[in-house]
Amino acid sequence: MKIKQLSVFVENKTGRINEVAQILGRHGVNMTAFSLADSADFGILRMIVSDVKQAEQVLREAHFGVSVTEVVCLSCSNVPGSLSNILDCLAKEQVFIEYMYAFSEGETARVVIRPTDLDRCIDILSRCSCHLMSRNTLDQM
């Protein structure tokens, strides 16, 4: 199950991420998860949001450079070794991961994965009986 992820190009300037957050807040867009990748003078803010289309539009209007990519989001139990089990499946099948980020709460952990080959990754994860999350289940969080 593919989830749309919104990426925003931000220069390394104080307050820039807050501006993104403020704009989304003003338009009632909720962030389910996000991570920031950075380099020397810019960063890329990657987010899973409640309304990708609207978020993309309002950020574009505010002159942000944005792109939308698809990722896979899965949930697993928040215990030692559970992430390793999943990554083992992917490694065995030679699936390359560009980046991933995760967050956990109580007994559950959720992982966002951006593989090079998304379809193959989903296929393998399903066969490994991983719990893949849909847009709806994400919204209920």
Partner: protein, 433 residues
């Protein structure tokens, strides 16, 4: 259409004779009426009688912008103020302004030569021009204005700024031609697209751009974005204003209005004249101007000349595009860098917007060149490595063109100032002693 075939299609020999006669008369006049030139000529031991043909021009003194400043405001005028009917002045961003005075006759010539340009761009009395150059002390607005009227076409004296109104009037008045700086044209084209009004509702077909150097890539960009046939018009206020040279339908160099302006190319280092085809600094002698005639005015614009006949039928000398200015040329780590070189690399790459800013600095005695560019929508990525690859691609291309390494900084959309006049594209922070 050729507006004035008898002047624009003269044989080279006839042109030389005409220029020689006019040069002699000019030198007589400035010798008698401009103390500045009399003194200079006396210092060089030259009298008006020594100047008989265009070949004798090398015996005459040069004039620089500094001379204009030193003789501020009216010191170089050759006509009494009772004969001067208009003044223009440069902005003076790099010192005190330079003032130019025109007699009634000068203005008539200016309007005629600008009409020649407009005619070469394929426009005629049926066209409606929006003149979006600044009106005022700058020669762009009024220069084009009277040219359009002389052509018999309709002029909208729009002036610069207020882009929303520009677009509304272009649309509502059914303008078929626009005159402005090329950087403003790009800005305007973007703004037009943002209004959502379909291009078919505009009647614009011709764009007349000048007052700052631009490139072939920029032409393509403007033509694609604005949907006009884009022509170069060249001029400078010290010499007259817009209309000193112009392109024709072949867009293969700009035809110089040679019966009024005698061009030369010199080496900016040795000041020796260079033959046709060689690149150097463009120098003009105003053959017929009365208000403020200039001998061998150094434009600081770098280009080359050719007297090869043009397919359009005009026989006058053509100048290449301005490749840079001998005074805004950046010397970075000992290497000559022209912003126009950097611009053409950026314009060649679809991944970037055509706007850029160069920041030159000196850190620990080492020059640095930073190039700020915006990534074009559609080329942003969620991966740092892809963004870095974009940057590397530009860096490699720049290095191959410039011979030095530039630090590329990717900046957010619209963070580089869109200019409504001459674009400020270089910030040189070095303090050179």
């Amino acid at each position: 259409m050729i507006w004035n075939p008898s002047k624009e299609c003269m044989s080279r020999e006839q042109m030389r004779i005409l220029q020689g006669k006019r040069l002699h008369k000019l030198v007589e006049r400035v010798y008698h009426d401009t103390p500045f030139y009399r003194r200079k000529m006396q210092e060089m031991d030259v009298t008006p009688d020594d100047i008989r043909s265009v070949d004798d021009i090398v015996r005459l003194p040069f004039t620089t912008k500094q001379d204009l400043r030193d003789n501020y405001p009216y010191g170089l005028f050759a006509s009494p103020m009772s004969q001067i009917v208009r003044l223009h002045a440069s902005s003076g961003t790099t010192g005190s302004p330079t003032v130019v005075g025109y007699t009634r006759h000068d203005l008539a010539i200016w309007a005629e030569m600008t009409a020649r340009c407009l005619s070469a761009f394929g426009t005629d009395r049926n066209d409606i021009f929006s003149v979006a150059y600044g009106y005022g002390l700058f020669t762009g607005g009024l220069g084009l204005h009277y040219g359009v009227e002389h052509l018999g076409a309709t002029v909208i004296p729009m002036s610069s700024g207020n882009t929303a109104k520009q677009i509304k009037l272009l649309h509502d008045f059914g303008a078929t031609a626009i005159a402005c700086t090329p950087s403003y044209a790009l800005y305007l084209a973007e703004a037009m697209a943002q209004t959502g009004i379909p291009r078919t509702e505009f009647r614009l077909k011709t764009g007349i751009f000048g007052a700052e150097p631009w490139t072939e890539n920029m032409r393509r960009e403007i033509e694609a974005k604005m949907g006009v046939d884009a022509y170069n018009i060249y001029g400078l206020s010290e010499v007259m204003g817009p209309g000193v040279s112009h392109e024709c339908e072949y867009k293969d160099g700009s035809h110089i209005i040679e019966d009024h302006f005698l061009p030369e190319i010199i080496s900016p280092d040795t000041l020796e004249p260079l033959p046709y085809g060689q690149q150097g600094e463009l120098v003009f002698t105003t053959l017929t101007k009365e208000g403020m005639p200039l001998l061998r005015y150094r434009t600081k614009d770098l280009c080359s000349l050719t007297d090869e006949p043009c397919r359009c039928g005009r026989t006058n000398v053509r100048m290449s595009r301005i490749v840079g200015r001998s005074d805004d040329m950046l010397i970075i780590r000992g290497v000559n860098v022209f912003p126009s070189q950097i611009e053409s690399v950026i314009l060649e790459m679809e991944e970037f917007e055509p706007h850029y800013l160069l920041i030159v600095d000196r850190v620990q005695n080492l020059d640095s060149l930073e190039v700020r560019v915006e990534v074009r929508d559609g080329f942003y990525s969620d991966e740092i490595s892809k963004m870095l690859a974009l940057r590397q691609k530009l860096s490699a291309r720049l290095q191959s063109v410039l011979g030095i390494k530039a630090d590329i900084k990717l900046v957010e959309p619209y963070s580089i100032e869109r200019s409504e006049g001459k674009a400020k594209r270089v910030i040189d922070k070095r303090i050179l002693k």
